[in-house]
Amino acid sequence: MSEFMAARPAPSVPAAGAADQVAAEAAVRQAPGDVLLDVRDLRTYYPVRRGLVQSVARAPRRHVHAVDGVSFSLRRGEMVALVGESGCGKTSTLQTILGMVKPTSGTVTLDGTDITALSERQMRPLRRTIQMIYQDPYESLDPRFRVRDTIEEPMLVHGIGSSRSERLPLIAAALEQAGLTPAELFIDRYPHELSGGQRQRVAIAASLVLSPALLLADEPVSMLDVSVRAGVLALLDSLRRDADMAILMITHDLSTAAHFADRIAVMYLGRIVEQGRAADVVRDPQHPYTKALLSVVPKRDPRDRTVPQILTGETPNPVDVPAGCRFHPRCPIATDRCRTEDPALRQPDAAAAGDHLAACHLA
């Protein structure tokens, strides 16, 4: 009996003062670095194709408001989680930061340089400082490439190392940094010889050889088995601590965000509707959308059955963004003001921490 009891995790009942302790821990681990990435009022619209009839009739051009005024910043050594439902603009935000999509307006400042204003040529040397990890390591790795080729390719693109023998130790070091030790065991394998978790580590290693300052991770563990997810997340966690990397992670899993991120930004229909320290957002949510999202996260403990506050319907079409507060058609507490006036992201009266912001008239 004793072995089972000793090794069992403690039940997850939030003890009195637990929130304070979390806040204290966050303060200790978050020896704040300088701001690496600053996104200001970013907007990315995609035009909707008009049919022939509409073109002839000069129907107004319509746009998908994928990212519609997003502002946040990210410090070195910090992990921010961007959470929200599909279609809320998480991935578009990442793609705009990465420069894969040109923003309609707004700025993305990386280390003091506004990268939205740069030309393709000026951007190229900066690209190695921003690296992306994709959701599906079964798709993102070339099946015909050995692990060494996958990791060598970005080095060739960016002109790192003059010969194979010079690059080899760097490849091995990246593999070991990504937790694939000993590197010799993995370096000559093909993706099909690796498990999902190992593949994702190879993808991470291929970013690490460029020693990026900013890592963008789009749902990095959602395709992986439950048993290995924690390991990959712990790897990301160690990268920002030891390598001082800033990590922007997209996830739809609030439990993961609560555990691994320093800060959480909740997106709804192209906007950040709430952001703050992870513990503040999870334990003291201010925006009704965040509250609803948190209430539907299934808890591990079967005794902890809370009544989920299920919102009806799905996120509206980002072509026709509702007037006023964009959440008002689904909001359980919306008033007349919410139907006309668009709320700004500000510190709510009830929020304890100064860096806890919500875009709600009633918060």
Binding site: F4, S12, D225, S227, H252, V282, L293, R300, P302
Partner: protein
């Protein structure tokens, strides 16, 4: 007698190069109407194979043994002939990714009515009327029967595929990862629907998922599968608060909880290959409390308490110790 009784179910797959994979190894459980039962574990542990075997829908290279009874009638012994009268009428399934498997060129209502005609439950206008009722039952207006799948959102398509599974009024519904591709809010809507269906229609529900919190919130009973075997089963509360197999405990510890404060730890290693005989405990290489005897002795699934079974030598060793003390 339970509604569904599965005893000593085994499934082997013939490999193209010769040899066999023993994908399901002696699985037994029973289920009553209105009960919700979770089947959890990592991918490749035999969850989906188990429920496909119950439906008699395994590919031709599969070999099945054991006994599956619905209402006391054996449905496995006579092969296809014995399962056909029960499939969809008594036992139905929502497949993984079913929401993406609707026929894009047929109206949703037609697709729901089709199995009714095939199984002689209803035809023509009666079937169409029933399709509308089924859509209402899963929370879609009956008028949507005249629409095509592409006009539906992901959540609505998943509701429609649940309606399709319910077309012939089954008593048992098998759901394979019904919410994996869905957003949290839509996931909550679908889980609420499945819960109310099992309560109101008295459906026995088997939920196959790797998502422990979903099972924790929805199911009364669950079985944890590892390498083709049930390694622990029992009431959900017991599995979380007093697990007696290290795999169950480690799976919970690898799952982050919204308000959980302890570290989330992954389980090292990977499940073993099932194309060769495993001596001893199949989990021992990944186990944090393995003993010497785990390498040689095979742990049996033994009863620990009321409705609670686990297959770990630590339980056996402990029982002998207590016996000696007495």
């Amino acid at each position: 007698m339970s509604l569904l009784e599965v005893s000593d179910l085994n499934v082997w797959f013939d490999l193209p190069g010769g040899g066999q994979v023993h994908a399901v190894q002696g699985v037994s459980f029973a289920l009553d109407g209105g009960q919700r039962f979770g089947l959890v574990g990592e991918s490749g542990c035999g969850k989906t194979t188990t429920i496909l075997a119950l439906m008699g829908l395994l590919p031709p290279n599969a070999e099945v043994s054991g006994d599956v009874r619905i209402d006391g009638r054996s449905v496995l012994a006579g092969g296809e002939d014995s399962i056909r009268p029960h499939r969809w009428k008594d036992i139905a399934m929502v497949f993984q990714g079913a929401m993406n498997a609707l026929n894009p060129v047929k109206k949703v209502g037609w697709q729901i009515a089709e199995p009714m005609a095939l199984h002689g439950v209803a035809e023509g206008s009666a079937a169409r009327k029933r399709a509308g009722e089924l859509l209402e039952l899963v929370g879609i207006p009956a008028s949507a029967a005249e629409r095509y799948p592409h006009e539906f959102s992901g959540g609505m398509r998943q509701r429609a595929s649940i309606a399709m599974a319910l077309a012939c009024q089954p008593k048992i519904l098998l759901a394979d990862e019904p919410t994996t591709a869905l957003d949290v809010m839509v996931q909550a809507q679908i889980l609420e629907l499945l819960t109310s269906l099992s309560d109101e229609l008295g459906l026995a529900l088997i939920l196959v998922t790797h998502d422990l919190p979903v099972v924790a919130q929805m199911c009364d009973q669950a079985a944890v599968m590892y390498a083709g075997k049930i390694v622990e089963d029992g009431p959900m509360e017991t599995l979380f608060h007093a697990p007696r197999h290290p795999y169950t405990r480690l799976l919970f510890a690898a799952t982050p909880d919204l308000y959980g404060r302890e570290a989330v730890v992954s389980i090292p290693g990977a499940p073993p290959r099932l194309d060769r005989e495993i001596t001893g405990c199949s989990f021992r290489q990944r186990c944090d409390v393995a003993m010497e005897s785990c390498a040689t002795e095979h742990p049996d699934l033994i009863t620990i308490g009321a409705g609670h079974r686990a297959a770990c030598l630590r339980n056996t060793a402990q029982r002998e110790e207590t016996a000696e003390v007495r």
